[in-house]
């Protein structure tokens, strides 16, 4: 523990009280508690605190669970690129291409979001709130690959300020911050995010490679919305070797993340499971009773669950402990309705090829109401028992 002893004795005092760098106290504190287990546990502020672990440790588990998606996303970006230009490349070259395309997005998202968080923490004289550790990783994973960096920066700043800080910071937000970022992108820059076509080769990478001029490929949901037959087969929607947003294509990578989240007890299996059940039920209903000429309604239900952001949303977004329902029964209702609404939007509204984002944001609104109803019905039940 030589390093820790050195930091504790030499470096830490400089950031505390009247130390040389006390202006950067929040910055130091943020990194210190991220790298080492802090002595204090989180205070009971915010709805996501439910045991004595520091919330940075919870957030770290989610970031670890996201790594398979991130790595696979990088590989897929490279794969789609070489596929589009008709070349074959070995594994390493493919991955490195993706790394070069994805890494700047991760860096921009973290730099902007953490920059705002640090500034506000320093300004208010508080400890840094750790919520952005996860949001900063989620944001690059749910944007299309050709999304320019400045747009990601604007959207991240908007979401951190207006979806989180104005509500009181981590644990107080009503809406999932990463999804607000995506919603901002979706409504502000629809040409980037339309979902009909996701560009598999970013133009700004051409200065590195000097190859094609941005090939666009349709995602399965885009084809559905346009009423065309889906060209991606079921197997590639599971493995994830298809065009789409960076982190959301591979069901296998998401499943690994889901196992990590469930094993560590960070996410609730009830929410996760009921999202899939809700989606499957509605998709089955559409399969059985839907209009014959509506391609999205006739799209097989198991494929509905594997394309687009359905899995990613179910595993990483719907289970967000802050914005989802807190009561155990409430989690079933919350998840089920997310699944239902997501498929309903996909099938019935061709203007929105992907409904997962809107479904989760909508249910975020209703999560407190669901909790309230569950608690009230429980109170009523017990009151009756006393009377009887």
């Amino acid at each position: 523990m030589g390093l820790k002893k050195y930091i504790d004795e030499k470096v830490k005092p400089q950031f505390e009280g009247e130390g040389k760098f006390h202006a950067f106290r929040s910055l130091f504190d943020g990194f210190y508690t991220f790298m080492y287990v802090p002595n204090e546990t989180s205070k009971a502020q915010g709805s996501h605190i439910h045991d004595a672990i520091d919330s940075k440790r919870i957030m770290s588990f989610v970031v670890i669970a996201l790594i398979p998606c991130l790595l696979f996303g990088m590989y897929n970006v490279g794969f789609q690129h070489y596929n589009a230009i008709g070349e074959t490349a070995d594994f390493l070259a493919t991955f490195l291409y993706g790394l070069a395309a994805v890494m700047p997005k991760v860096i921009v998202s973290y730099a902007v979001g953490l920059g705002i968080e640090f500034t506000i923490a320093q300004w208010k004289g508080e400890e840094i709130q750790e919520g952005f550790l996860v949001s900063g990783m989620l944001i690059p994973l749910i944007v299309p690959i050709n999304c320019p960096l400045w747009i990601i920066a604007v959207a991240t700043a908007f979401a951190v300020i207006f979806a989180k800080e104005v509500f009181g910071g981590t644990g107080m937000n009503i809406f999932n911050v990463a999804l607000v970022t995506r919603a901002f992108l979706f409504f502000s820059y629809p040409t980037m995010m339309s979902g009909e076509k996701v560009w598999v080769n970013g133009e700004y990478l051409d200065c590195i490679n000097g190859t094609v001029d941005g090939v666009s490929a349709a995602t399965p949901l885009g084809e559905l919305a346009a009423g065309q037959p889906v060209t991606t087969d079921f197997l590639s929607t599971v493995t994830g070797l298809m065009p789409g947003s960076i982190g959301e294509t591979s069901v296998i990578a998401i499943a690994i993340g889901a196992i990590i989240l469930l094993w560590s007890g960070v996410a609730s299996w009830k929410t996760m499971l009921s999202v899939f059940v809700g989606g499957a039920v509605i998709a089955l209903l559409f399969n059985t009773f839907g209009a014959e000429d509506n391609a999205a309604a006739q799209f097989p239900w198991y494929q509905h669950l594997t394309v687009g952001g359905f899995c990613f949303g179910a595993v990483f977004m719907a289970t967000d402990p802050v914005t989802s329902a807190r009561t155990e029964t409430g989690k079933y209702i919350f998840g089920f309705l997310i699944g239902c609404v997501a498929i309903l939007v996909r099938v019935l509204n061709p203007g929105f090829p992907e409904g997962m984002m809107l479904a989760i944001l909508l249910m975020n609104c209703f999560a407190p109401l669901i909790d309230y109803c569950v608690v009230q019905s429980n109170i009523n039940k017990r009151a009756k028992r006393i009377k009887a």
Partner: protein
């Protein structure tokens, strides 16, 4: 009492800043969201409301002693409706394109809470000259906020001001640049957020007052 006494000065400057109808009283939000996607309609709307508030204030103030208390709201509505009809027809005659853009919102000035609020709270108790100043000031206070919101929305939403291109088209993405207009700025949802920012800034500046 002289025309430009200190009290009258306070009547005039209050609504422009510390007692702003939108930023402090949070009235008239609906039309402020609806007409501010561009600067020109925002200014025309602000001026229309100013004129209508000022003259309805004067008329109600002149007849305030003869209005039976129980039917005063109806009398106020008749006066406002008459003025709105006049303004609406003037807009149609001279700035037809703007009046088309404003569509129903000129007619809906009748229901603007700033107007009824000023009539009830000020014109019924004060003389015509004070009421005139109060109407002008409240209308201008409303117009200032509309212009600020309209400026931000038109500049970021479509890159123009008064319809003139400010952000050159060469930086746009379809022409090989990197810039994209923010489509959400043209939606009322973003107007609400900009309005909130204006109110936020206004209140942090005037915190101690």
């Amino acid at each position: 009492m002289s025309l430009f006494s200190k009290e009258n000065g306070a009547v005039f400057t209050g609504p422009l800043n510390l007692n702003n109808p939108i930023a402090v009283q949070v009235l008239g939000i609906c039309s402020a969201l609806a007409v501010t996607s561009q600067l020109k309609p925002a200014i025309v709307m602000g001026l229309s409301v100013t004129v209508i508030t000022a003259f309805s204030n004067v008329i109600i103030s002149l007849i305030r002693k003869t209005i039976p208390n129980r039917i005063r709201i109806i009398v106020q509505l008749v006066v406002v409706a008459a003025l709105v009809t006049i303004v609406s027809n003037i807009l149609k005659a001279y700035v037809y394109d703007v009046s088309v853009q404003l569509s129903v919102y000129v007619g809906l000035i009748i229901t603007n809470c700033i107007l009824m609020g000023r009539l009830e709270a000020f014109a019924l108790q004060n003389g015509p000259w004070e009421s005139f100043l109060d109407g002008i000031a409240n209308g201008l206070g409303y117009a200032i906020i509309l212009v600020i919101v309209g400026f931000v929305r038109e500049l970021l939403g479509s890159g123009t001001l008064f319809g003139l291109t400010i952000i050159p088209s060469s930086v746009l993405m379809e022409n090989g640049g990197l810039y994209l207009h923010n489509g959400m700025m043209t939606m009322p949802a973003m107007a609400l957020i900009i309005l909130a920012c204006v109110i936020w800034a206004h209140r942090s500046i005037n915190k101690e007052k």
